[in-house]
């Protein structure tokens, strides 16, 4: 399936765009997506951490993604 992933902060700079269209297996897990992103953009490995959000909530590693999910890559937050 094709996933559209929203990017913010330093993740946007690493990828060079505010969103990314990614080919990924159907029902890909969040952990699987993260591995795919890490290998495609090695600079992500240098971050303190990063997370994946689905539909405005933090997603667990074993969550299975669907094409209609709103997916975002969340680099270390620093609000406040």
């Amino acid at each position: 399936m094709k996933l559209k992933i929203a990017l913010f902060g330093i993740a946007k700079e690493i990828v060079g765009s505010s969103s990314l269209d990614l080919d990924t297996p159907d029902e890909q897990s969040v952990a699987g997506l993260m591995n795919q992103l890490r290998s495609q953009y090695p600079a992500l490995n240098e971050l303190t951490s990063f997370a994946v959000a689905v539909n405005s909530e933090y997603a667990a590693d074993d969550y299975r993604l669907h094409q209609r999910d709103e997916v975002a890559l969340i680099p270390p937050v620093s609000g406040g």
């Binding site: 270390p76 937050v77 620093s78 609000g79």
Partner: protein, 138 residues
């Protein structure tokens, strides 16, 4: 609860007014402002980027968690700024009202500490000679 994300200057008095409650004798407020330095470097301004929908959702979660932990909480308000901020500008205001004061301190501190851990907002510090996304790298 009163949760806002805005690209306009925060009206602190309005946030305080929103937690006023005749049953509450205590209001604690935390205001985060832009400092003129960070880890020894002189800061000239900050840029805050937010994932708006998720940021609001997460601030609501944090306020709801505080309400569960401190059932006597009367009112909770959180307003976070985004966009370009100058030195001295208010970046975030948290205000809570409770019947007694110890709870107001504890709940307010819990809320700001948790916001800083979970709310998808990113701060880029601009120096005279470069910029850094705060907390991005170890």
């Amino acid at each position: 609860m009163h949760i806002h994300l805005t690209d306009q200057p925060i009206d602190v008095a309005a946030v305080l007014a929103s937690v006023q409650d005749d049953g509450a004798g205590a209001v604690n407020t935390f205001i985060g402002t832009v400092r003129n330095q960070s880890t020894g470097r002189r800061v000239v301004r900050l840029d805050y980027e937010a994932y708006d929908a998720m940021a609001i959702r997460q601030m609501e979660h944090v306020a709801a968690q505080a309400q569960e932990k401190w059932p006597m909480l009367r009112q909770v308000a959180v307003t976070h700024r985004k966009g370009r901020l100058d030195i001295g500008d208010v970046a975030v205001v948290v205000a809570v009202s409770t019947p007694h004061r110890a709870d107001s301190f504890a709940a307010c501190q819990y809320i700001i500490d948790t916001i800083k851990q979970v709310v998808p907002i990113w701060k880029k510090e601009e120096y005279e000679d470069g910029s850094v996304w705060v907390a991005a790298h170890p």
